[in-house]
Point group: C2
Chain length 201, copies 2
């Protein structure tokens, strides 16, 4: 009696096709480029069909937002191999910024979606929170190693995350365009290094 399973699989595949099409449209031209009719054309179904698999456009965009966090998490395990905690945190920051700059539209979406935690409060299983917990773990290792002054882990993690997110956001939104282009990368690198300055420096 695998019929129900097959149907679920089919529905899942359809959802995936829709999301794939939506993602392609989104990364190419942002929110306004994602149109129910354009998605429908891409998957070769009629617009009405999409509403059998998603509540509305917002629902689709929310799923894309989650996919963004999944992608961000995808390479987290590579960081684990770095032994030195401060170096690991530093590399994590560089990776974070690189991800944001390589996927600017996606990164925007990841932090533009207000409804992300709306449904029944924050879910520890959710990708956004898992990403933060992984980051906080690295911060904890630094604190344990006495690299920063004594502080709450969460407080320190939030401060450093905020710096990274702030830099990513300012860069993507072109708010640092007053700096000479060629020194931009260097300035950003050093700015994050300043936030990571060790106790006594």
């Amino acid at each position: 009696m695998g019929i129900k399973e097959r149907k679920k699989r089919n529905a899942g595949k359809m959802r995936a096709r829709i999301l794939k099409a939506a993602m392609q449209l989104y990364v190419k031209g942002g929110y306004e480029n994602v149109t129910m009719r354009r998605i429908a054309a891409k998957i070769e179904y009629s617009p009405g069909t999409i509403y059998l698999y998603f509540q509305n456009k917002k629902d689709i965009m929310l799923q894309l937002c989650y996919q963004g966090f999944e992608r961000l998490l995808a390479h987290q395990d590579k960081l684990e191999q770095i032994a030195d905690p401060l170096e690991r945190l530093s590399a994590g920051g560089r990776y974070y910024l690189a991800f944001a700059l390589e996927n600017p539209e996606l990164y925007e979406l990841m932090f533009a979606t207000k409804e992300i935690f709306k449904e029944s409060g924050p879910d520890e299983e959710a990708a956004p929170l898992r990403a933060f917990r992984g980051f906080a773990k690295n911060v904890k290792d630094c604190l344990d190693a006495g690299i920063f002054s004594a502080n709450e882990v969460e407080t320190t993690a939030i401060a450093l995350w905020a710096t990274l997110h702030g830099l990513a956001s300012l860069l993507i939104k072109g708010r640092l365009r007053f700096l000479p282009e060629e020194s931009l990368a260097e300035v950003v690198e050093q700015a994050y290094a300043f936030s990571l300055r060790k106790r006594g420096e």
Copy 2:
């Protein structure tokens, strides 16, 4: 021959009326609540009239964005009275965050508008850059006082600004909602304090 002047004044007043109506709509319900027809209804003109004073909706939103920076700058002079540079920087940060949280939609707009610097590159006279220069001045005073480790002023200013902007953005977008509500303010305060930690701490 004050006729031309009067016409300019009238056109200016009309622009102001339109922007006022647009701002009211925006702070109440965000971007999608700002509608050319709704603006027109508020100012009691027909929709077409708006296009005699603004290029399009984007143009209107851009002006609102500028108004946001003007408001942010409005109380900057009060900070100047604080003698101690670190205390001044700290108070500036608190004021910045308070502004962002009291005007969340406006703050979003201030940093959501990509076109802000599009026209002929960054303009030193523009409010956004003036705001940064004011902030950087406070940072310079701290560096001169030896409070932070030697560094480029711009680099340090960007690091601290990014932290503030990151905190504001994360708060507004609800990304810190996994923290207990009652400790949120405290955590944010301490997170910024961490970024401001003095040399040797």
